[in-house]
Symmetry: C2
Subunit: 155 residues, 2 copies
């Protein structure tokens, strides 16, 4: 671990919070020892509940590198990723997570990270958001069209 990178993620968490951008969370994406993306929580200032530090940093890095895959990169984040950000890190193909505070620390400061982790671990029928299914066959046709699409770009 490069502690300077983790310290930079923590610095962004404080800077963003003090600027009124959102909660106290910061993250950076690193490739070959160089910072290629930065993010801090911007949920309340941009009216975007998905604008967590890790998501913002991933989007910034992808924009800077002009790619949708961050394979070969690592993420440093001031706090253990919530389930949304954790799955985003998988989708971005990041290879390692360095973090400082835990989801329990975030929960103690009033954030729902642990509650949502717990929800996601439940069978869908036991979760607090109800899920209703329909039109299965019509939706499957879209996947069949995708599989037939000669110029599809996998991700």
């Amino acid at each position: 671990m490069n502690q300077d990178f983790l310290r930079e993620a923590i610095r962004l968490s404080v800077e963003g919070m003090e600027a009124g951008e959102g909660g106290p969370f910061g993250a950076i994406v690193v490739r070959n020892g160089k910072i290629v993306g930065r993010g801090w929580n911007r949920v309340t200032s941009t009216n975007d509940p998905t604008a967590h530090a890790e998501i913002v940093a991933i989007r910034d890095a992808c924009g800077n590198l002009n790619t949708f895959s961050l394979a070969g990169c690592e993420i440093y984040t001031s706090c253990e990723p919530c389930p949304m950000c954790f799955a985003a890190i998988y989708w971005a193909r990041l290879e390692r997570i360095y973090y400082a505070a835990t989801g329990a620390d975030a929960q103690a400061a009033g954030f729902d990270d642990c509650r949502f982790s717990h929800e996601l671990a439940l069978p869908p029928a036991s979760r607090s958001i109800s899920m209703v299914r329909g039109l299965e066959e019509e939706a499957r046709e879209a996947f069949q069209a995708w599989m037939r699409k000669a110029d599809r770009i996998a991700y």
Copy 2:
């Protein structure tokens, strides 16, 4: 369930795919029987691995309604949400999910939804992305500053 809304989500999934925007996924956000946000997968066309249909629809709805909370709204999506989108739906405070295809359908079409769900269900030490922790105390100071911040906006 309003089948017309679910059909609109499926229609967006096909339209976006055919336009070369990304994978075959569409979603809409509905409030009081009216569509307030639309999204389709834009991962490959915008170089954003987080641009799944549900995330795009949530961001669109929040922009249109000028809020970071979609409490009182529902989401219709062409496919069962992946873990990233499911957690985003929690963070957005959406109240119900209507969906058509399943994560297994998506997996059969080459998408990693189920693999990532499985990963998230594992204890962190057993996951394929390694997690390394450090600087706990420095990060906790940011949360303490948040708790002291008189004008903080919770989300």
